[in-house]
């Protein structure tokens, strides 16, 4: 047995154990992309490097065998900086987006491509579930949202953007028409009470997401009916009130209590309100009736300078879109929850994303959906509103330019963890390629990090052709040998290599 320390913690391991394995035994997590049990260390990603006392350079922990008395340093700013650099270098040669440009453009951060994938299979309730993770009033925004997502949509460079707003409205209205519309799960009741001031989009959104966490919510609103500007500002021609009522009804179903005709500030002073609740959310819109409600807002967390009070929506200057107010409400809900649990209030962390930016016309041809053009009904020809058949049909034209493994990609997970900046190093990079000729999988070489796992696995499992490294240096690519296709190259190892691929380079078809 050998004794070493990692971050000053002693551990005893048998001879031949690597530093990475020793760390595992201690419960210390060392990041790695290219290491896989049962194959020899490949040492390509270099993410697992650690400092070893007495060594000039950092060493890859996956391949370095522990030696008696070794002093290993893993939790250290210089190690973190080196890992961040490795991640940033990999990202600088990465052609592929984590999130589609539509999702990035959506103020609420809705996973639009996923919604569309459900819709394209005719599963509108699946689609609604995806929408309502971020948007409390999908049908409402389906009527009035100016849809920044559609302006960002890549399909727009091919012919016309996908009709995201109408697809969403269709899904949401189909859901509302159900006898039992979608109701999210509600966590067991917590002994926490939150007052929401204002029943406009921000307040409704905050209440909707807080209620799901088992927080008791009371909405105070000066008007006769809830809805705020949506009811008292937006013309009825633009937004049918029945739709608004139906969606507010879904919020009430979560146990949210509404107190209409109460003006906080004049009827009940804020201080008094606060004393009866654990936290307050202020979503009173632009025109606050009382000057006493003046505060500054941290736009990251929605905290105000009044202890225990959060705010969002139109009370922030320059916020005009309903969907932005909805986003604020959800963001505030996250912060309020952290506050209620006595945690540090950080707000929701914006998910890591890399962007490949503008594509060349040639690169668009990589997308199978982009080739289909003739048979498409142009969204610009849609009269307002589409039925389910139209929505399903239109959904088939989405390029799905988001990453198929966005939630599983370890490159993304570590990039988020180490705060990697994908644009730190600029320069030449892989071309975007989307190879879908194989019946089960999609191969996107632009997302490959040359870790070598698939090359080793196909060799080990004696795949007839398999995959190999081609070329040398910066231009090394992984592909099937002898100029054969992916369909010819891969058969029995498909499941294994897709699951082992640390990024979205190899992914299964479908959702």
């Amino acid at each position: 047995m050998i004794n070493i320390t990692i971050d000053n913690k002693p551990v005893q391991i048998p001879e031949g154990t690597t530093i990475l394995q020793a760390a595992e035994k201690l419960g210390i997590k060392i990041p790695t992309l290219c290491c896989l049990k049962d194959i020899l260390p490949i040492t390509s990603c270099m993410l697992c490097i650690v400092k070893v006392e007495g060594k000039r350079n950092m060493l890859p922990s996956c391949a370095t065998k522990a030696e008696e008395g070794m002093v290993v340093i893993n939790d250290d700013p210089s190690v973190a900086a080196a890992r961040r650099t490795a991640l940033e270098l990999l990202l600088s040669d990465h052609a592929g987006d984590c999130m589609g440009p539509c999702q990035v453009a959506c103020p609420a951060g809705m996973d639009i491509p996923q919604m569309i994938r459900y819709m394209s299979e005719g599963d509108s309730s699946g689609a609604v579930k995806v929408i309502k993770e971020h948007i409390a009033l999908p049908a409402v925004t389906g009527y009035i949202c100016p849809a920044p997502c559609e302006k960002a949509c890549r399909r727009g460079h091919v012919d016309e953007s996908i009709a995201v707003r109408l697809i969403k409205r269709c899904a949401a209205e189909l859901d509302l028409a159900e006898s039992l519309p979608y109701k999210p799960d509600v966590s067991p009741a917590q002994d926490k009470k939150v007052a929401v001031v204002g029943a406009g989009p921000a307040g409704l959104s905050a209440a909707y997401y807080l209620a799901q966490e088992g927080v008791s919510c009371t909405v105070f609103d000066k008007n006769e009916k809830p809805g705020g500007m949506l009811r008292y500002g937006v013309p009825e021609d633009d937004l049918p009130r029945s739709v608004l009522d139906a969606e507010i009804e879904q919020i009430k179903k979560l146990g949210v209590e509404f107190k209409q005709g109460v003006c906080i500030g004049t009827d009940i002073p804020l201080e008094e309100l606060k004393s009866g609740f654990d936290a307050v959310f202020i979503g009173t819109g632009k025109a606050s009736p009382d000057d006493s409600l003046k505060f500054s807002i941290n736009s990251g967390t929605m905290e105000t300078d009044i202890p225990g009070a959060f705010a969002g929506g139109d009370v922030r200057k320059g916020l005009k879109l309903t969907v932005r107010s909805l986003a604020d409400g959800k963001k505030a809900a996250v912060s309020i929850l952290q506050f209620l649990n006595g945690e540090k209030v950080t707000g929701s962390i914006s998910p890591f994303n890399t962007r490949m930016g503008k594509l060349e016309p040639e690169e668009f041809k990589q997308f199978p959906a982009a080739v289909k053009k003739e048979e498409r009904n142009k969204p610009s020809d849609f009269s307002d509103g589409i039925d389910k058949n139209q929505a399903v049909y239109e959904s088939a034209f989405c390029l799905h330019c988001d990453c198929r493994k966005a939630d599983l990609c370890r490159l993304r997970i570590y990039a988020q963890e180490y705060g990697a900046k994908p644009t730190r190093y600029k320069g030449s990079h892989r071309a975007f390629r989307y190879i879908d000729e194989h019946p089960e999988i999609v191969y996107e070489p632009g997302k490959c990090i040359n870790c070598g796992i698939c090359v080793h696995l196909t060799e080990q499992k004696k795949e007839k052709l398999g995959l190999t490294f081609i070329g040398r240096g910066f231009d090394v690519r992984v592909d099937v040998p002898l100029n054969r296709s992916i369909a010819e190259g891969l058969s029995k190892t498909v499941d294994e290599i897709v699951n082992a691929c640390p990024t979205g380079a190899l992914a299964f078809k479908g959702k």
Binding site: P41, I42, T43, S44, C45, M46, L47, I49, R56, N57, M58, L59, P60, A63, T64, K65, A81, A82, T85, A86, L89, L90, S92, D93, Y425, K426, G427, S428, I449, N450, G452, V455, T458, E459, K464, L465, G466, L467, T468, F469, I470, G471, R472, G473, F474, D475, V476, P481, L482, N483, R484
Partner: protein
């Protein structure tokens, strides 16, 4: 394109074998047969051998030697080594492509007559810029001589084709009468036409019946004087001629030897008369070429040198084993085999203080000892002859000129560590070295210095040659071993060291060419004698390849501890053309630039590392005031990032990002923050790389940043102080122009209009900044701004 003849594949496989490790010889044989690797042939190999498709594609695409498209009838390789680079190799490369009308991103002309490709280094640095057309090397090629070079080659090629089969009668040593003619046949000499010279000498001897024999000698090291020819008369007198042209051969020979018989007398007279008439002037004056070893520059060049690895330099034949034995060859091996135990050999090496000459300077005895202690008894010995540093050609010369000594060193080491089999891995760009080593192995086997019962003992040693396939990274020992085993040359983490787990998992000793070359001397004379030379920590001698902007370039062997300034100024004769000595690049892509003001440091491992350079394998490229240090750094990064195996993130992506920053700086698009990012990346790549290629790749940048930071800053401000970076300079004609039109005639792109007796002008839009005009102007009226 006609279909390749696949029946040849069977022959190739029958010759090489069918196991996976035979991939390298099989592919090399295919490349030789077809000129490229045809897809159907590759598929056939996979069907008929144990080599998998993944292996064949992965392997063949890794090495530069292999092509997947047919090449032209002739291949022009333009050397882009360091010395060639500083003398404008890129311009020459562009000029060849322009001359042949080859479009960008293609390498072959439309008639498929010529393929033009870059080569990392041909190891003929003193003749920079160097170009190789098929097997013929041309030195000092310039942008405006490319047309003539091609013409000359084609003329030679046609003549050779015509004369095939009419080999001249070779005189044997037994015919010897009154003397010998020595012609240097190192690659440098050959590049300067010593091959032609040898042919000419043979022809003269044949025609005149002069009773002399031709003797091939190895490299004398005085590459700046090539081709060298030495006449030795039976009375003991000898005469050395430098820079000899083939047409001079007859005059020189007839000056020293009497032709045999009447015809012999008459023939040369007639043809000599004809020559004189045809050239319309005086015959070439011979004394111009004669040099005396007592002459000052020769004395300076040779004076400080101490020949150990290059013992008997200039007088010993590279291909005559008897002569090697006469000069004390194989005495060391005999002693090691018959009089010393394994431990005694290793102890002599320890006493000598010998450190590995490949670059890292690891104590040699330590490696040998580590092997001795391995429980596994099957052991391998390997020669690392993959000298890839651009600007270095020591090992090439040692293998070409002292092949027996290299083998003797290997055999002694094999005896010490108990190895019975070994491989000599020699880079493909050194065909002459491969040829000489192959011959030498045969001769040694015939004489009982290799094979069974070496020197009458029970020791046996079987050596095989493996020709590399064009990958710098294979100089890294773990990559080299992978390459021998038929894998992509990707380094792996050490430990385990090759001494523990090398070829096929067996303990393997791997040393550099020069290291082995020093061993016979050490064993013969004792380790203590070797340790008497050099400095406290760096013992013995070191062979350097001296090139660049120096008056006398060549190969030198000096005791450790001489100063860089002594090397540059005394041995090298200072900077050519009276320019200012700026810096000396040491250690190639892993090394750094030592500025002139620090050149009083002694040459030893410790001092060089202290100055931000490394000893490396021994390439010294001298730079003058017209060399831009940012461009030099860019040059090396371009090299290393191209040669990275591509496995690890820091090296694969990081060196490319560094290169892109340097490109921006040289193109005048750099920002202040680029320098900071460059430095930060250099640091991260250094500490995060797995092997020495990545770990040392940032050194050229770090050392130039340390000593010449102001040049980087000048580039950010759009200025190249040395006047080198093309995007930042303009050529202008001054009032000193006399209107001679020479510049206009030499401009390869027509940017100067012919205006007799008027001041010429350069069209900046058309100008490609090749510098041809500046080079030819007799009035120095072309300036760089």
């Amino acid at each position: 394109m006609k279909n390749p003849d696949l029946t040849k594949i069977d022959e190739i496989i029958a010759q090489a074998g069918t196991t996976p490790d035979k991939i390298l010889p099989i592919l090399q044989a295919m490349q030789k047969e077809y000129g490229y690797l045809p897809q159907p042939a590759l598929e056939m190999v996979c069907r008929k051998t144990e080599i998998t498709p993944a292996a064949i594609t992965g392997f063949s695409s890794f090495y530069d030697q292999f092509r997947f498209e047919p090449a032209g009838e002739h291949t022009i390789r333009v050397c882009l080594g360091t010395a060639c680079h500083v003398k404008g190799a890129k311009t020459v490369f562009d000029a060849f492509k322009r001359h042949l009308g080859i479009p960008e991103k293609q390498d072959t002309d439309s008639k498929r007559q010529f393929t033009v490709e870059p080569v990392a280094c041909l190891g003929c640095c003193t003749l920079a810029p160097v170009v190789q057309i098929d097997d013929v090397i041309y030195g000092h090629v310039t942008a405006d001589s490319v047309g003539n070079t091609i013409k000359e080659y084609l003329a030679w090629y046609d003549a050779k084709k015509k004369n095939e089969g009419k080999a001249a009668k070779q005189l044997k040593a037994s015919d010897i009468t009154s003397g010998e003619v020595r012609v240097g046949l190192g690659s440098c000499c050959q590049a300067r036409g010593s091959g032609y010279l040898k042919d000419a000498v043979e022809k003269v001897i044949h025609e005149t019946g002069i009773p002399a024999v031709i003797k091939h000698v190895g490299c004398v090291g005085m590459c700046y004087q090539t081709p060298l020819m030495e006449i030795l008369l039976s009375n003991g007198k000898h005469y050395l001629y430098a820079g000899v042209k083939p047409e001079d051969a007859r005059d020189i020979l007839l000056k020293h030897f009497k032709p045999k018989g009447f015809a012999g007398k008459i023939l040369p007279m007639i043809s000599k008369g004809l020559d004189t008439i045809l050239t319309g002037g005086e015959p070439l004056s011979i004394p111009r070429h004669a040099i005396d070893k007592r002459e000052k520059h020769v004395a300076d060049f040779l004076g400080r040198q101490k020949n150990i690895a290059t013992e008997h330099c200039g007088s010993i034949s590279p291909v005559d084993i008897d002569e090697y034995i006469e000069y004390g060859g194989f005495k060391g091996l005999e002693k090691a085999v018959n009089n010393l135990t394994e431990d005694e050999i290793i102890s002599e090496i320890e006493t000598s203080g010998l450190k590995g000459r490949g670059g890292a300077g690891f104590p040699t005895f330590f490696k040998w000892k580590a092997l001795r202690s391995q429980p596994e008894k099957e052991r391998f010995i390997v020669l690392n002859g993959d000298e890839g540093d651009p600007g270095a050609f020591m090992d090439r010369m040692l293998m070409e000129s002292y092949s027996f000594r290299v083998i003797e060193g290997i055999a002694i080491a094999a005896r010490a560590i108990g190895a019975g089999r070994g491989y000599l891995y020699i880079r493909a760009e050194y065909p002459l070295a491969i040829e000489r080593m192959t011959e030498a192995i045969k001769m040694c086997r015939a004489r009982g210095f290799l094979g069974e019962n070496i020197c009458g003992s029970s020791m046996s040693l079987d050596l095989k040659i493996v020709a590399g396939a064009g990958a710098f990274v294979c100089g890294e020992e773990t990559a080299l071993l992978a390459s021998i085993m038929g894998q992509r040359g990707m380094p792996r983490l050490r430990p385990p060291y090759p001494a523990q787990e090398g070829l096929w998992g067996k303990p393997t000793l791997i040393n550099n060419v020069e290291t082995y070359s020093l061993v016979p001397w050490i064993i013969r004379n004792g380790g203590a004698a070797f340790a008497e030379m050099g400095t406290e920590k760096s013992k013995g001698t070191k062979v350097f390849a001296l090139a660049g902007k120096i008056a006398r370039g060549g190969l030198i062997e000096v005791p450790m501890g001489v100063t860089l300034r002594q090397v540059v100024e005394e041995i090298g004769g200072g900077i050519a053309n009276g320019l200012r000595f700026k810096a000396i690049q040491i250690g190639g892509p892993s090394g750094g630039c030592v500025p002139a003001h620090l050149s009083d440091i002694p040459v030893d491992y410790e001092s060089l590392t202290g100055a931000g350079a490394i000893m490396g394998s021994g390439g010294l490229v001298v730079l003058d005031e017209t060399d831009c240090m940012v461009d030099i750094a860019r040059y090396f990064l371009e090299f290393t990032q191209n040669q990275s195996c591509g496995k690890c993130t820091f090296c694969r992506v990081g060196t490319r990002r560094m290169l892109e920053i340097l490109d921006r700086l040289c193109n005048g698009q750099g920002k202040k923050s680029d320098i900071d990012q460059l430095e930060e990346l250099a640091f991260q790549i250094k500490q995060g790389s797995l092997c020495a290629l990545g770990g040392t790749a940032p050194n050229p940048v770090l050392s130039t940043l340390e000593h010449f930071r102001e040049e980087y800053e000048a580039h950010v401000n759009g200025k190249c102080p040395a006047g080198k970076c093309k995007a930042l300079i303009e050529y202008k004609v001054t009032d000193a122009c006399i209107g001679c039109t020479i510049c206009a005639q030499h401009c390869p792109v027509g940017a100067i209009k012919v205006m007799p007796y008027k001041k010429h002008e350069i069209d900046i839009e058309k100008c490609i900044r090749c510098g041809s005009c500046k080079g030819v102007c007799p009035e120095d009226a072309v300036v760089v701004e």
